[in-house]
């Protein structure tokens, strides 16, 4: 026995430093973890971001206010419509304008559909990473049904570029409400299937429960927002806290977790899918008829017919295209509830046609920054569900 302890004491061991990423199956979104391992236990973890940095904020300064819109698609590319809406709302706030009623309803509908897609993708990927490949395809199928609808609306599945400052690119297509009803029926069936496959699955619970736990106080201190903060038991949702668009007219609940572990994050997202479907259905029922664009020639382009046939319209069109629309000088911060949390735009204007500064508050940046805190002392396999459930999106985090 003595010999054993002696040799164990004299045994030379080293900690293994291993690079997880940037090209590793779990680091989708392109991020690198430098993990120091003691056996399989994580001794230390460093997060290295920036692999998807495109200079979004600098690019914005070189385009007109309207030319920023397609760039925002690439922020959180899983729910691009929310980014569109968030940016448009920020610029409108700078102008002190409000989009027409119908436009606001359509923005709510599409934001919520984007949120559903985002949660689908997140849960699907999370399940796949812990080995449940079938769940992945069930939710990807559901997401595809919604993408088909979004494609009908804006012509693109991923890079929507649909919302405009003071309006929208076009109105909803005919039969959209019926299409939504049809798609939601299948989506709900698939939701039940996934719920059966995961929520009471002992292996899945074992992998998710008590992993990546964040108590409410610490989550707030780290700057968590969105489903991850709500999983910790804090009922903060921008849609309820500072209602924008027509969210104050909608009847929906904010699901809240208890312990703030990965399983709660999963449950919160699953329930948010249902709540978002409720919002979409209510909005479709309540949506008034009317214009979708502001009737302000200097703000929102007029119809092609007018532009080609009336000289005043042609001149405004020419001026807004070349010089851009000109908000008053000043700075504002405006936030929407993104799929991952509070998506904020901080805009500075000097009264010219281009933004002086367009800063984005990405919801997943604080979440990614908390990875070392959540992972120290855990096993290497715990990185997988935790990193999935914080849902880091490279496009948004690195910009």
């Amino acid at each position: 026995m003595d010999i054993m302890t002696d040799s164990a004491k004299n045994l030379h061991t080293e900690k293994m430093v291993i690079n997880m990423g940037p090209s590793h199956p779990v680091t989708h979104g392109t991020v690198k973890f430098t993990v120091t391992l003691d056996g399989e236990t994580i001794d230390d973890l460093k997060v290295d971001i920036g692999y998807l940095h495109r200079g979004f904020e600098k690019m914005c300064e070189n385009g007109t206010w309207e030319q920023v819109m397609p760039y925002t698609d690439r922020l959180n590319y899983v729910s691009p419509l929310i980014n569109n809406v968030g940016y448009a709302l920020a610029v409108e706030k700078l102008f002190g304008l409000q989009a027409p009623e119908r436009c606001q309803y359509i923005r709510v509908i599409l934001s919520e559909m984007a949120r559903i897609c985002d949660h689908y993708t997140n849960i699907a990927a999370g399940a796949m990473e812990v080995g449940a490949m079938t769940v992945f395809l069930y939710f990807v199928e559901a997401r595809d049904l919604l993408w088909d609808l979004l494609e009908e609306v804006c012509g693109a599945r991923v890079t929507a570029n649909y919302v405009r400052i003071g309006g929208l690119k076009n109105d909803l297509p005919e039969g959209f409400a019926a299409g939504v009803a049809r798609a939601f029926k299948t989506c709900r069936e698939l939701w039940v299937d996934v719920d059966k496959l995961l929520t009471k699955n002992r292996i899945f619970i074992d992998r998710m429960r008590d992993v990546g736990t964040m108590p409410a106080q610490e989550a707030i201190a780290h700057g968590f927002t969105g489903p991850c903060l709500r999983a910790s038991g804090v009922p903060y949702d921008v849609r309820k806290a500072q209602p924008y668009l027509v969210y104050d007219r909608m009847d929906f609940e904010i699901p809240v977790g208890e312990t703030g572990d990965n399983f709660d994050r999963y449950l919160v997202r699953m329930e948010e899918i249902n709540q978002s479907m409720r919002i979409v259905e209510q909005a479709l029922a309540k949506m008034p008829a009317g214009p979708i664009n502001l009737d302000m020639p200097g703000m929102r382009w007029q119809s092609k017919d007018d532009t080609y046939s009336r000289i005043e319209s042609l001149i405004t069109h020419f001026k807004t295209i070349t010089e851009g629309i000109k908000p008053p000088a000043g700075e504002i911060y405006s936030a929407v509830e993104g799929a991952n949390g509070e998506l904020g735009f901080y805009l500075v204007s000097d009264g010219s046609g281009k933004p002086v500064k367009c800063r984005v508050r990405p919801p997943c940046f604080p979440l990614t920054a908390a990875m070392p805190r959540m992972m120290r002392g855990r096993l290497i396999a715990d990185i997988v569900p935790t990193f999935d459930m914080i849902n880091m999106i490279g496009g948004e985090c690195d910009r």
Binding site: V130, G131, L137, N201, I203, A381
Partner: protein, 358 residues
């Protein structure tokens, strides 16, 4: 002498062509198609010869051509000898173990007794264990010799997991041996001619434990920690390409076949149909003459055996595509704190029942 030799060679060729020639390529296709079916997809359907696609059945051929023409890559700093040796060590046991599994009974053909098993060893099950343990070396060597940290972690996980589950698996089977009083798989098969003496009725707990341990030995989901692709990239075979990769892959598929074969033999009446004895089969086919009847009975038995094997392959694949994977420490805890005590309990109960019975 010549007759015995011919018989053995025919049996070896038969099993080899069924396993390596049929099951191992077809299982790749089955896995794709079955997962596709479960996931509302179409699955592999593009490979074609002159525009004939026959539901994607040409994909195994396309795969074979692909892997044979790929670069055989050995990473820098890897131990060349062991890196090359590992897949062989991994594949061989998977092929060899089927030698002791009977795929039919005894038949009298032209005065010559034919026993449908390649090697009728009296230590049959021990032989399987011995070779199953050997395949652990392949995995560990592969992980260690690749000079890659992910491979190393995969290899370590594999060795810990396979050793732990072998203990539980061995103890589980002791119950079976106590009931049948033999290690010889042909004997165990014979006894199960009586439907009510099938292993599943004699050892229900043993069956569940054995199946779980067998999946863990096989390293497939939910026990695929050694290759957990989201954690360890591809685990112990991260650095393998070309034919060597396929050898690991084939080894895995052939292990599925072997496991299904063992489960069928030990728990599901081997080559017997329920309520149908060998004698009944022979009498049903008696119009074909004694030799004809024996041949027909043989064909029926072999078909029954491989149908059962195919059923268990299907079951294992369904499990693989349904469940998520455990965490490494959870697997070890399950092995030592659940499987092992339950296996001991199983032996204990079996012992008491046997004592009371007699």
């Amino acid at each position: 002498m010549i007759a015995d030799l011919t018989e053995t060679i025919i049996k070896i060729l038969f099993i080899f062509s069924i396993n390596v020639g049929f099951y191992s390529p077809i299982l790749g296709w089955v896995e794709r198609k079955q997962s596709a079916l479960m996931q509302d997809r179409v699955g592999a359907n593009r490979a074609n010869i002159l525009n004939f696609k026959i539901i994607g059945l040409f994909h195994p051929i396309a795969d074979a051509v692909k892997v044979l023409t790929k670069e055989d890559f050995i990473p820098e700093g890897a131990d060349k000898f062991f890196h090359t040796l590992a897949p062989f060590i991994s594949l061989t046991p998977a092929i060899v173990t089927f030698a002791v599994i009977p795929f039919g009974g005894n038949y009298e053909l032209w005065g010559h007794s034919v026993k449908l098993v390649i090697a009728d060893l009296d230590v049959g099950m021990l032989f399987i264990f011995a070779f199953a343990s050997l395949s652990t070396y392949g995995v560990v060597l592969g992980g260690w010799s690749s000079n890659n940290n992910w491979s190393l972690l995969g290899g370590l996980r594999a060795s810990a997991q396979m050793l732990s589950y072998e203990v539980a698996m061995g103890l589980t089977l002791i119950g079976v041996f106590m009931v049948y009083g033999s290690l010889r798989l042909t004997d165990i098969g014979m006894i199960q001619e009586n439907f009510f003496r099938w292993g599943i009725f004699m050892q229900p707990l043993g069956f569940i434990l054995f199946l779980t341990c067998a999946i863990a030995e096989n390293k497939r989901a939910p026990f695929d920690q050694p290759e957990a692709e989201s954690e360890l990239v591809a685990g112990y075979f991260t650095e393998y390409s070309s034919m060597k990769f396929v050898m690991f892959w084939m080894g895995e598929f052939l292990e599925i076949v072997t496991i299904s074969g063992i489960v069928t033999t030990l728990f599901f009446g081997a080559w017997h149909l329920p309520f149908v004895t060998d004698q009944m089969l022979l009498s049903w086919f008696s119009p074909a003459g004694p030799n004809g009847a024996a041949i027909l009975a043989m064909i029926v038995n072999v078909l029954v055996f491989f149908l059962k094997v195919s059923f268990f392959i299907w079951l294992l694949m369904t499990i693989r595509w349904t469940l998520p994977r455990f965490r490494y420490d959870q697997v070890m805890r399950l092995g030592w704190k659940m499987m092992l005590p339950l296996a001991l309990l199983n032996i204990f109960i079996t012992g008491i029942v046997l004592l009371v019975w007699k």
